[in-house]
């Protein structure tokens, strides 16, 4: 297992990068930022995602697909902050926690309904709902949590 302090630093850099730009660092950039080799950066990325298994790499690659609550790979959950739409939430549930990454700011999540394609919009600031449109929006867990929930990329 990698040095826990180094893993903390790596996690922090990855989270900061996806919050700031909408994209998480590549492992080569991560390695450079931490002063380690590219290969050590790659191994560190794997170690971080083993310790943070709610995120994942795209299958058969070293590319971050999901780093919740945000996603490197576009999803239907578009996130706008400060008038800029450059983020995606991992899923509808995680969309409600993006607010904690942008303290004091209005977060807008827009997603099409998977039944009808009509838009849904929620706006939150510091964990509080400001807008819910339509008002009847609900969350739905299609498979139970845990090992039998199915393949993570298809949440």
């Amino acid at each position: 297992m990698a040095d826990p302090r180094l893993m903390d630093r790596a996690f922090h850099l990855l989270m900061r990068s996806i919050v700031q730009s909408g994209n998480a660092l590549h492992y080569a950039e991560l390695g450079r930022a931490l002063g380690v080799t590219v290969e050590d950066g790659r191994q560190l990325l794997h170690a971080v995602l083993e310790a943070y298994p709610i995120g994942w790499l795209h299958p058969e690659t070293d590319y971050i697909a999901s780093f919740p609550p945000l996603n490197n790979l576009p999803t239907q959950h578009r996130v706008t902050v400060g008038g800029q739409q450059k983020w995606f939430a991992q899923c509808g549930f995680e969309a409600t926690s993006v607010t904690w990454l942008f303290p004091g700011m209005m977060i807008k999540v827009e997603a099409p309904c998977l039944d009808c394609g009509d838009p849904m919009v929620i706006e939150m600031r510091d964990g509080q709902f400001v807008t819910v449109n339509p008002p009847g929006i609900v969350g739905h867990l299609n498979y139970g949590f845990g090992p039998s929930r199915g393949r993570p990329p298809f949440l």
Partner: protein, 80 residues
């Protein structure tokens, strides 16, 4: 883990799992579920080592408070 315009819309979704009737959660409950203490510290330098490990217990406690302390929500066993 999706949002829908209503429960009726979710049930009409082509990929709706008929065994997921207990999978509905109101938006306020959902926001609370994803607002437990550790979530407030995701930007802190020690989040991975100090805060993320607390997440599981926080989630279980929250699910108990909102009456969702069921295997479906608390974690299903691995398929045998």
């Amino acid at each position: 883990m999706n949002l829908f315009r209503s429960e009726e819309h979710a049930r009409r979704w082509a990929l709706f799992n008929p065994q997921s009737e207990e999978g509905f959660i109101s938006l306020p409950d959902l926001a609370g579920f994803f607002a437990t203490e550790s979530r407030h510290h995701m930007l802190e330098p020690d989040y991975l080592s100090a805060w993320f490990p607390r997440r599981g217990a926080e989630r279980r406690a929250y699910l108990e408070r909102i009456g969702k302390a069921t295997p479906f929500w608390m974690g299903t066993p691995a398929p045998s």
